[in-house]
Symmetry: C2
């Protein structure tokens, strides 16, 4: 969660006045979103989310992100829909930062992951991959494989305090993944950050997927690999093969993974674990004083990476 | 702001099921409230606030606080109204902690204080003082004058790092205030924490006063002294006598301060500045790791205290 910026009443009313969404009734900072500040806005016409883009999200990427959300919403995918101002714009400046208003999605994100959650997630992910095929904009993954060495360089000096093996293992991984990374798997737009707190459920069905601010062009199976990491480990970092099976079953029911994608999953899961290990190390070492967000534990992903390094193939994931 | 506790979906639905307020549609941690965790709950019947009492607020005090809010609401004072469960109870246990549901109040708290804000605040404070006269429960001020020496003892060892004069000045104040504290001013229930973020405005009128968890029996004029500190200083800690005049004018229009109360204001403002200096020192020194709240600057109140020490009487506040 993060709310870094306090919006004054006057600024808020002027900003909301540029949209056809009624009068401000209340506006409260909410504890959702790590990169941006989010506010729940209630107006005489309904509930909306105001997002202020604080860091990492650059203004130049906003047309891609917001356009993608609008593209998905048009196809009835439950993503937040950017509200266009009276001038047709999807974002503008508020408190000196880029800001948008999006529709509010009901539902709760799951705190305890069930098999049904995994299955529904798989289905929704496949639907999203299919629904974005017609989206005409592109964005490279800033946190993809080509960025990992750079991230490693930015944390190298300070990570011995977390674990003495960290440097050695990360170096080995970078070499191994570089040598073995698959290059010809089906690609398209991926969400890139499908963690449980970005997925809302209502009555056991997905009611919303939020936070498209890592979305980019990438390998579909890499998205599944992120989900394996984020949804299929128990709290003690034991891997739950049944959850993985339900995830894949849900995905395959909408878009079937081919045999190359399936075979690549262990390697992609290794890469995805490395990605979150590196960004969490970076975040904890560059944690701004006074940021209203707790950095996440990097070692969680060090342990997940250790699991993937020992896996011999899809069978280790219950997927063969 | 603070959200310390993550409520699971199951726990939330069971909890809300004990009230006649409809089905859960969403529940988001909000960045309001320092002592407690607050969630904006949307149900099929409307918007509510769920509060989890994390610390300082003890279970034994909840009947006083929630009863007071209900008492005020019955008299059309814009305080949150505790929603009683189907069993008639105003609080129960959620995630192992005491928890309540209250009505949601619209409005925005002012980020930039205007003269009108001060006048409206004065009027609302006087209305609250009158409206609580019939409230039959009592609660001592845990952070009143008798508690200051104890608080000082708990921070004494570590406060030199903030300012080298802190110990000396606080010691002088404790002696001075003990000797000169007035004992016969009109008393009743006070809110005790009327800071701008606890007061909501809509269309330039007060739409809600929240956070009654410091309410207690006390001197009415001491409440005004807290407001002088919290509303009438500019960001550079210069005192704005016009704001003070508007505050008093508003208050006097509903309940007239007598000459003893007026004469005591400088001393009470000194005491109130010391109270917030001490609690802020305590909070910053006992700031829990990972708490999603930024401790407030204690030296702000050291500077305000310095202003009050130099004031010779109500005229220094533009009040004579």
């Amino acid at each position: 969660m993060a709310v870094y910026t306090e919006i004054s009443d006057q600024e808020l009313r002027s900003f909301v006045g540029l949209y056809n969404i009624g009068e401000v009734q209340s506006c409260k900072g909410i504890t959702e979103g790590v990169e941006n500040s989010n506010y729940l806005l209630q107006t005489t016409q309904g509930t909306f989310i105001v997002t202020l883009y604080e860091k990492r999200v650059t203004r130049g990427d906003l047309p891609f992100f917001l356009g993608l959300m609008e593209h998905l919403a048009v196809q009835n995918f439950p993503s937040p829909t950017p509200v266009r101002g009276d001038d047709g714009e999807m974002f503008r400046t508020l408190c000196g930062k880029p800001a948008s208003i999006t529709t509010f999605l009901p539902g709760l994100y799951p705190k305890k992951i069930s098999l049904n959650h995994c299955k529904q997630l798989g289905m929704a992910t496949a639907k999203m991959h299919l629904a974005t095929i017609g989206y005409k904009f592109e964005r490279q993954n800033q946190l993809g494989r080509s960025g990992w060495s750079n991230l490693f360089g930015q944390v190298f000096d300070q990570i011995n305090s977390f674990h003495l093996d960290l440097r050695k293992i990360i170096e080995e991984e970078l070499v191994y993944l570089d040598k073995n990374w698959p290059s010809d798997l089906p690609r398209g737009i991926i969400h890139g950050d499908l963690f449980p707190d970005n997925v809302f459920f209502q009555n056991d069905l997905i009611s919303g997927i939020i936070d498209f601010y890592f979305a980019c062009n990438g390998t579909y199976a890499y998205e599944i690999a992120i989900c394996l990491n984020a949804w299929c480990f128990e709290n003690d970092i034991s891997f739950n093969v049944t959850k993985a099976k339900f995830l894949l079953k849900g995905y395959n029911s909408i878009r079937k993974l081919n045999s190359q994608e399936l075979a690549a999953l262990p390697l992609l899961a290794r890469g995805s674990a490395l990605r979150f290990l590196l960004t969490r190390l970076y975040d904890i070492l560059h944690h701004p004083v006074g940021a209203l967000v707790n950095p996440k534990d990097p070692l969680e992903y060090f342990k997940k990476l250790a699991f993937h390094r020992k896996a011999t193939g899809p069978s280790a994931y219950g997927l063969a």
